[in-house]
């Protein structure tokens, strides 16, 4: 029996030019989609394949002919006759600056593509000066909107602070947070509808926070881990990954990934087990699954310990 293939209603095709190459893409597609169809690589950080683009990070900006400012490729829809440049001097400059500004204020050590992009765009985050001392735990969470300590200019302010380890399942290391809003969107109305986290504060002091800044176990969190699934920088990670990284034993080269079906209920979500030395170290879920789009519940995400209860007799 053949699988039914859901067909989208036919869409008109739109002619656009990407770096001088003409392409036809469906009406309503984004510039990023059009770039993908020509094989043009555009860096993205806050873009999530399962989420509505927030276009907050601005690393994907491109130059649209006739526009005053650059446009975010991830969310700007193509228009007929649009001419887009993805590698002009203006584009390269803004991408380099976004990478330098992020690199100088956030710990990008676990952001997979960061080093490659930094090299491609010649970003030197260190030119803003030595990094300021990390804030004490909770200090950034208590900051009041519209006020800040005057800087002395000797050090570059950062968002670095100690990781928040307040439960057994996952760790929030907000020194690595680039404020892409993806975890908030995944927790809230776009997927989970739990609304355990939101963006609090303003400007450079904006941060991801639970209600009243309570610890995670006192919050509305249901530990679905769908925020970890979409985090682009490793700010949110499994406790197991966090601890192995701290010990220096985390090694993705030695990990296998096996996609299987969650055994708990009848929905049949896909789970991808990341296994290192015969231990499950992390669970993800394929984003292209037409039912779950990479989302799981606490059982699928974290309920794997029983697999590893080996008999010792």
């Amino acid at each position: 029996m053949s699988t039914p293939v859901p067909l989208a209603p036919p869409r008109r095709l739109v002619d656009v030019t990407i770096d001088g190459r003409e392409v036809r893409v469906p009406e309503g597609a984004t510039i990023l989609d059009a770039c993908a169809s020509t094989g043009t690589d555009v860096p993205t950080l806050c873009y999530g394949d399962t989420l509505t683009p927030k276009n907050a990070c601005r690393v994907c900006v491109v130059e649209v002919d006739g526009a005053r400012t650059l446009a975010p490729a991830c969310s700007r829809a193509v228009e007929p006759g649009m001419a887009v440049r993805t590698d002009s001097e203006r584009v390269r400059h803004s991408r380099r600056m976004v990478l330098e500004l992020l690199g100088s204020s956030v710990d990008l050590s676990t952001t997979p593509e960061a080093p490659e992009w930094m090299e491609r765009y010649g970003a030197r985050p260190e030119r803003f000066g030595p990094r300021a001392e990390p804030a004490a735990l909770g200090e950034r969470d208590a900051r009041h909107a519209g006020a800040h300590e005057p800087p002395d200019g000797a050090a570059a302010a950062t968002v670095e602070q100690p990781p928040k380890v307040d439960n057994d399942l996952y760790v929030r290391d907000y020194g690595k947070c680039i404020m892409c809003y993806k975890c908030v969107d995944a927790c809230g109305e776009q997927w989970q509808n739990t609304f355990a986290i939101g963006v609090a504060g303003r400007g450079f002091d904006a941060r991801i926070s639970t209600e009243h800044d309570v610890a995670l176990p006192d919050s509305a969190c249901v530990y679905c881990g769908n925020c970890i699934e979409v985090c682009p920088t490793g700010a949110l990670s499994f406790r197991s990954e966090f601890e192995m990284r701290a010990e220096g034993t985390w090694d993705e080269e030695r990990q296998t990934q096996t996609t299987t079906i969650c055994t708990y209920c009848g929905v049949g979500c896909n789970v991808t087990l990341h296994v290192q030395e015969n231990e499950i170290v992390k669970v993800t879920s394929p984003h292209d699954n037409p039912v779950t789009h990479g989302n799981l519940c606490i059982k699928g995400r974290f309920g794997f310990q029983h697999v590893q209860q080996r008999r010792h007799d």
């Binding site: 600056m97 803003f128 680039i178 639970t210």
Partner: protein
């Protein structure tokens, strides 16, 4: 949505304050008493969630009553409105005027922004810090903060005291002396035990603030004291200021009020739009977009309902014209909104006023109540069959909420973050519906357009800059205030009208357009004050700020203040602005103190500035480097070669450390 709440109940005062805005709770489901019958139904769905836009008024109610928003109070609001507490916490912490940690009932905001800095705010602040402790200190009765521009620049230096209670009170000290600040930071009066609900926000006719100033405060001078031209013949926009009693609808009508609305009702919506198109009116908030095209665009949208928003969140440093209009001629704003609503087929208008304008708020609340009494708002206005009403929404200390899409989010009870455009407000604005949004000054221009006719109005001014324009003159001039001139006068004429600089010292620089605008040199006063003229000169009129700085002013310190302003006011959504404004302030700090390598820091400023201008989401980030760039290139601050005229000597205080 399965929301999780705290177990802690709100205090009686907190509950009263919230209930005064939202009405009493219906059932145990939304925070009321739990009855057995509650178990037989579930409250939820769209009906429960559709009141999210009351979040900001409810937060204000608690803050006004108690002085801060406790977790229990926030939770109670969330129960009432079915808002997730994490989102409400994000909203409450977005605004500078709200506190989520306990603080004294009285908060004194001491302006340290550009116009006040040019008038000695620094010394005032230093004195106050010595006597009352550092800003944000932990006094039990009063706390004081350094504040961005309070919009009282013509009376700089300024301070505003807000005191929570039932009703809340305020007091303005401008120009503020050390003795004024001592009185304002003195002990707060005992809380009034007024009946619950007198501080209600939004309920018909009720005033938010008490009419008597807070203890230690003095009565403010009338609004026309800020208009040196008041009473002169030939004024168009300011003609009623100082002539009418701003509280009296009869006075307003006796002086030509509501004649424009009558004419509009005769012309019909399309006729009104034609007049506005013919007039050539462009927006006065800073972006100069043709108003008629905006109205036409909204009126044509098939989607309903349409909304009208009056942007009275005047927060651009150095701007105070809208405040003076609202305080001196509040009915004109209400009439103009009614006309705009009629033309664009909106039945509901929101007037979003910044939280730092308590007197304008009180006068507008009165104006709306009086207009409703006479059927100038409400159903079937003047027997025309047109229904229209206005709701006031008060901001809470966020410059970004003056951005046209951030204001929508703020009204809707979300964080005041700008949205991506497209879609534009005429298609998807407030509540996702077609929306017209205009600045106060833009709207009040519509009244003379209707009275004299679009073509006659277009005859005032020059080429593409038609009509009269309000300018906010402040800084080191003899007679600061709001001035009305037809477009086309030169900067020199305006500065002369304001009495020139005291002691005849040459102006060193003039900041045009506010913190988002740019500096011109004191020898460039022949710039014509038109949109084209300013653009040709590489400057901008922006919101009409003309802030004159003579050679006694410490320019590098002003630049650091501008950078600190943008760092504080960035919403934090996009990287170029969120981090760029921080790096800009750091670099300026090094440049102004002489630390670090000058050339490297100037290059760094240019690199960051270009990315902010090119890649930020909204106008805040895109203009955050404008003033600094113009100071470097045009004024030669920090020793860079000025772009055009001969370099002037750097001020002695900085000559030594600038060249390295």
């Amino acid at each position: 949505m399965d929301l999780r709440f705290l177990d802690a109940p709100p205090t009686d005062a907190e509950r009263d304050a919230v209930d005064a805005v939202l009405g009493p709770a219906e059932s145990g489901w939304d925070g009321g008493r739990r009855e057995a019958a509650d178990l037989r139904y579930a409250r939820g769905g769209h009906a429960a969630r559709d009141r999210r836009d009351l979040l900001l008024p409810a937060l204000h109610a608690v803050n006004d009553r108690v002085g801060w928003i406790s977790p229990a109070a926030l939770d109670y609001i969330c129960r009432r409105l079915t808002v997730p507490p994490a989102e409400a916490y994000g909203v409450a912490t977005f605004y500078a005027m709200f506190a989520v940690h306990e603080r004294p009932r009285r908060v004194v905001h001491v302006c340290t922004d550009i116009a006040c800095a040019a008038r000695g705010a620094d010394r005032l602040r230093a004195d106050l810090a010595e006597r009352a402790g550092p800003p944000g200190g932990t006094g039990s009765e009063v706390v004081w903060h350094e504040s961005p521009c309070l919009g009282l620049c013509e009376r700089a230096p300024a301070a505003l005291a807000l005191e929570a209670g039932a009703p809340p009170r305020y007091a303005v000290a401008a120009p503020a002396t050390a003795a004024d600040l001592d009185r304002l930071t003195g002990a707060a009066a005992a809380p009034d035990e007024g009946p619950a609900g007198t501080g209600a926000h939004g309920s018909a006719g009720a005033a938010t603030f008490a009419s008597e100033p807070a203890a230690g405060g003095r009565a403010e001078p009338p609004a026309h004291a800020s208009v040196p031209q008041a009473g002169e013949p030939g004024l168009v926009l300011l003609r009623r200021i100082g002539v009418v009693d701003p509280e009296s609808l009869d006075d307003y009508r006796a002086n030509g009020g509501y004649a424009a609305l009558r004419r509009a009702l005769r012309l019909g919506p399309a006729g009104v739009i034609r007049e506005v198109l013919d007039s050539g009116l462009v927006g006065r908030g800073g972006a100069a977009f043709p108003t008629g095209r905006k109205w036409e665009g909204t009126a044509r949208q098939p989607d309903t309902p349409h909304y009208l928003v009056c942007n009275a969140d005047e927060s651009e440093p150095g701007t105070f014209k809208d405040r003076v209009v609202m305080e001196g001629d509040p009915f004109s704003v209400i009439e103009a909104m009614t006309v705009a609503g009629y033309a664009t087929a909106a039945r509901k208008g929101y007037l979003y006023i910044r939280g730092e304008y308590p007197r304008a708020l009180s006068l507008l609340e009165n104006a709306i109540a009086r207009a409703r009494e006479r059927n100038l708002l409400g159903r079937d206005i003047l027997g025309s069959g047109f229904d229209f009403d206005i709701e006031i929404r008060r901001g809470a200390g966020a410059y970004i909420c003056g951005e046209e899409t951030a204001i929508f989010n703020s009204i809707e009870g979300r964080r005041g973050e700008p949205r991506s455009k497209p879609p534009f407000p005429i298609e998807r604005g407030l509540f996702g519906k077609p929306t017209t949004i205009n600045n106060v000054e833009t709207l009040v221009n519509v009244l003379p357009i209707l009275l004299m006719g679009g073509p006659a109005y277009a005859g005032i001014g020059t080429g593409r800059s038609t009509g009269p324009k309000l300018f906010c003159v402040s800084g080191t001039v003899r007679r600061p205030g709001v001035y009305e001139l037809p477009f086309g006068a030169t900067l020199r004429e305006l500065v002369t009208l304001a009495g020139g600089t005291p002691d005849g010292r040459p102006p060193r620089a003039v900041l045009l357009g506010g913190a988002a605008g740019g500096f011109v040199r004191g020898d460039e006063l022949d710039i014509p004050l038109t949109f084209e003229g300013a653009r040709e000169a590489g400057a901008t009129l922006g919101s009409g700020v003309v802030l004159v700085l003579d050679d006694t002013v410490d320019l590098p310190a002003i630049l650091v203040r501008i950078a600190a302003f943008f760092r504080d006011e960035s919403c934090g959504q996009c990287v170029p602005c969120r981090v760029g404004t921080v790096r800009q302030e750091e670099a300026l700090h090094r440049l102004s103190t002489g630390a670090g390598a000058r050339r490297t820091d100037l290059e760094l400023l240019r690199d960051v500035g270009a990315a902010m201008r090119d890649a930020s989401i909204c106008g805040l980030g895109q203009t955050a480097w404008n003033a600094v760039e113009s100071a470097i290139d045009r004024l030669g601050v920090f020793g860079a070669e000025p772009a055009a005229a001969p370099a002037e000597a750097p001020s002695p205080a900085h000559a030594a450390k600038e060249d390295r």
